[in-house]
């Protein structure tokens, strides 16, 4: 592979991914294919229980697909590559209760104490400097999720995987976190893959929305979201373009959900 080919390589290429879990059961993912270009923000939406988390675990190389492949810049990994970070869904389960906020963030650097500066930067990026010495269970849900976010960006990753990261916080915190994640992705020129069931969130944050079918999940449609950036929670969401895109995604997801209930 020559150099220019490597440059054009998508940061993530999911090809014909199939996964049954547990092994031998009806597949959860069935021939799923999509790709993500460097710097792109991709949101994956689908009816609940369609296998989004399984997909994310396969993409993170925490789980190997049965068939098909997940390539990170053209390469296969048995374990999560170092430039990939994951923010897990349950913030109160994904933080180490015996470590302070600061040391939870430092855990992203495999806990090496030599990188105080990078930890400080990550804490600053999520406005958590003042809570650095508290334990995660001493701070609010939104702060816990910011701590998890800081832990994932402290390594300066290229690709950020977000598994419904705003699912269990209140509406206002959710909005703040969305803005924070978009800003971080912009300033760090990060590619991000957001798995969510929230269509507004997907359309508002992403450059491309990948709509999944019901189980076994495959890609129903990829929709480019060409809304200008920076995006604003009020202004962007009031534009006819946003409403149109939202309508389109919503219709697709609802069609899938109706199939499920039939």
């Amino acid at each position: 592979m020559d150099k220019s080919a490597a440059m054009n390589e998508p940061i993530l290429a999911v090809d014909n991914l199939t996964k049954a879990f547990p092994a031998g059961a009806t597949p959860i993912l069935n021939g799923l294919t999509f790709r993500q270009e460097p710097g792109q923000f991709v949101a994956v939406v689908g009816p609940s229980g369609c296998g989004k988390t399984t997909l994310l675990r396969c993409i993170a190389s925490l789980m190997q697909p049965d068939t098909g492949s997940v390539l990170h810049r053209g390469r296969h990994f048995d374990n999560p590559p170092p430039w990939l970070s994951v923010v897990f869904q349950d913030y109160n389960r994904s933080l180490f209760p015996w470590l302070s906020v600061r040391r939870n963030v430092a855990f992203g650097l495999r806990g090496s104490g030599a990188n105080d500066k990078r930890v400080d930067e990550a804490l600053r990026a999520v406005n958590l400097e003042h809570a650095a010495d508290l334990y995660p269970w001493q701070v609010s849900g939104g702060m816990q999720q910011r701590c998890a976010l800081a832990r994932s960006i402290v390594v300066s990753p290229n690709l950020l995987l977000l598994d419904e990261p705003f699912a269990s916080v209140d509406a206002q915190t959710r909005i703040d976190l969305q803005d924070m994640v978009m800003e971080i992705c912009q300033t760090m020129s990060l590619s991000a893959l957001l798995v969510t069931h929230d269509i507004d969130e997907a359309v508002f944050m992403a450059d491309k929305v990948v709509v999944l079918s019901t189980r076994p999940a495959r890609v129903v449609e990829e929709i480019a979201i060409d809304l200008p950036r920076p995006r604003d929670q009020l202004a962007t969401k009031e534009t006819p373009e946003f409403l149109q895109l939202r309508h389109r995604v919503y219709t697709l997801v609802r069609k899938q959900a109706q199939k499920l209930s039939r």
Binding site: P80, S85, G111
Partner: protein
């Protein structure tokens, strides 16, 4: 009633109960003099002799050394094996039946065998103490390791930790609350095994001290030795609780919150 008053009153009752028991003993000892009822002052004299001078070096310290070594080995082996077994489920069918069988052997039963293997040595006594107290730690560590939230292990993998690093930095700390409760059980067993191991072919230690004084009909010293063992047990338990309180301060706070419905 003030908070202080509420605290002091039970304390006063407790002190009064102990004093009453001592007084009852002393009354009985003076009223019915018998070889098994020595007066309090003779027991007290024996007791304090154990805590300094020659007896300290020939009775108390050897016992504490054995207890410390045996208990430390039990903690080390129990934690390492427990964390590994609890994490690597594939080992379970191979190792679990053996452990489940061994744990039901009372450690006392292996005393004669270990005497043959090790002779009348410190190693024999340390082995018996360790064997007796390893199982509560091992079982607790295994259970703790099994209950580690899989998301935490995913986080550790995503960050790039190796299997060994995950065991040390995620599974072990997450299992500590369970391990500490196992250690409390193990400590009392270790104390029992310490005494028993010193009743056989010993020439020092608290067990030997009690046995020798019994043969010499020095009943006051026998009771003094027994009381010393009680003191050692109490002191070590309190020390263990203090360490636990310090090491697991996060756990009480965390559990306190998750149990009140925030988690």
């Amino acid at each position: 009633m003030t908070a202080r008053g509420r605290y002091i009153t039970p304390l006063a009752w407790q002190a009064a109960t102990i004093l009453a028991l001592i007084a009852l003993w002393q009354w009985a000892a003076l009223t019915y003099p018998a070889v098994y009822l020595p007066p309090i002052e003779r027991i007290a004299q024996g007791y304090f002799q154990i805590w300094h001078g020659d007896l300290l070096h020939s009775a108390l310290l050897p016992s504490l050394r054995r207890l410390g070594a045996g208990f430390a080995i039990a903690i080390l082996v129990g934690c390492v094996m427990g964390v590994v077994l609890g994490s690597l489920r594939s080992l379970d069918p191979w190792v679990r039946p053996t452990i489940e069988y061994l744990r039901y052997i009372p450690a006392v039963a292996i005393l004669p065998a270990s005497l043959i293997v090790f002779g009348a040595t410190d190693q024999m006594r340390i082995f018996v103490i360790a064997f007796g107290s390893v199982f509560p730690v091992l079982i607790a560590a295994t259970d703790g390791a099994r209950r580690v939230d899989p998301i935490l292990l995913d986080v550790a993998r995503a960050v790039g930790l190796s299997t060994a690093e995950r065991l040390v930095r995620v599974v072990l700390p997450a299992s500590l609350p369970s391990i500490f409760s196992g250690m409390r059980v193990a400590l009392s067993i270790a104390l029992v095994m310490m005494v028993i191991s010193e009743l056989i072919a010993a020439d020092d230690g608290l067990g030997f001290y009690i046995l020798r004084n019994q043969r010499l009909f020095q009943t006051a010293n026998v009771y003094a030795g027994v009381l010393t063992i009680g003191t050692v047990g109490l002191g070590l338990t309190l020390a263990l609780l203090a360490v636990e309180k310090r090491v697991l301060s996060w756990h009480r706070g965390w559990r306190g919150l998750t149990e009140t419905g925030r988690g």
